[in-house]
């Protein structure tokens, strides 16, 4: 399974839950899985061209992820953050 850390900006979708699990797959598969469970969540992280939005950051472990098609391995942690962004 993939462990997922959900930032506060998306807690309105997850009912306040910040730690989730999803089946192993590419990042986009994980986001699709989350979107099925929490409709609307994915589009607020990536745009319609599957690009990560400018003020969202995804990390797999300590490595920044820039391509949602990158694969994940069993046990990986996908961390989603709202990046520093203006006032």
């Amino acid at each position: 399974m993939i462990r997922v850390l959900v930032p506060s900006q998306l807690h309105s979708y997850t009912g306040g839950v910040s730690r989730l699990e999803a089946p192993v797959g590419a990042i986009c598969d994980v986001l699709d899985d989350l979107d099925r469970r929490f409709p609307g969540l994915k589009f607020r992280i990536v745009d319609e061209q599957d690009r990560i939005r400018p003020h969202m950051r995804l990390f797999v472990g300590r490595d920044a992820a820039r391509d949602v098609h990158a694969g994940l391995r069993d046990g990986d942690e996908l961390m989603i953050f709202g990046a520093l962004s203006g006032g």
């Binding site: 900006q9 998306l10 609307g40 589009f43 990536v46 745009d47 061209q49 709202g82 990046a83």
Partner: protein
Amino acid sequence: MAAMTELLIGTRKGAWTLSGDAARRDWRLEGPAFLGQIVNHYVADPRDTRIRMMAAKTGHLGPTIFRSADAGATWKEATVPPAFPKSADAATARAVGHTFWVQPGHASEPGVWWAGTSPPGLFVSEDDGATWTSVDGFNDDPMYPQWVPTDAGTPDGPLLNQVVIDPRDAAHMYIATSTAGVFESFDRASSWAPLNRGVEANFLPDPYPEFGQDAHFIALAPTRPDRIWQQNHCGVYRLDRPEVNWTRIGEAMPKEIGDIGFTIVPHPRDADTAWVFPMDGTDVWPRVSPGGRPAVYRTGDAGRIWTRQDRGFPREQGWFTVKRQAFCADAAEPLGLYLGATNGEVWMSGDEGESWRRLGAHLPEIYSLSIAPGP
């Protein structure tokens, strides 16, 4: 207090409502809803007063549409918000940065809504905003790259900032853009043609191009829909269809005030009357009230003469302005005018602009102020 007038307020940090009694004397502020969301537009549906639509995003999260079917008591998110079709070349493909404008469809088309976005895109919903589709007639027109140059835009990005529908004909539509001016469609958005003759674009080598203008706001005179008022980046204009040449009626404004602004409000019962809220468009474009003395200007003769109306506004050191969606009128007698300011204040006139009073203050920067039609 029986709410007879309700103002829907979209701000840079969420949405509020202001409810007024029958006399429009006592007002109650409620909110926020969606605190922290950037609410570019918040409107009610004149065809079904329970339905409300809100265009929102945050500094981090992507854009979406929130919908209410019970006058704002509860909200649902669009299951398919406005989005461009997926492209094979993701590096250059368009993506909606934010929805700027949501427009109830024609009275004969319940459930239909239109939306304008940044970058400029036109979208339609046939199910009260639940799902949205890209309108090929504009978004995929072969001229789109010329209408939306890659380096064009406002400080908040290039905009398709408005959709306007002829109340007499659902197929006759106008859109306003920040990159190519006004367009007209006679076939319900299947095809579009520029409608900018006579409108200046003083930031281009050809100051009177076929397209390229920055149309801040257009409004049809409700009692004479062939009359179009326009507050442009380069002045105030009027066009009486079927004419195609706009007249710069802002030339009659006092020179020290100028005719730059974001919005224009027509009188709902008098086709010759409209109001503007000028801002300082000189020098580096401060975009504040000229001289720090806020005022509206009213014309009662289709733009030949403009009269200053500033009673109640700060006499000095008032540096706010009013954005595109934040100036509106009710339908009462006498007419009520309402404006939401960039400093978070809401102002009202109950005597057609003669005098103004502040209904609320200390809100975030107001992006949108609209009237919810009464039940």
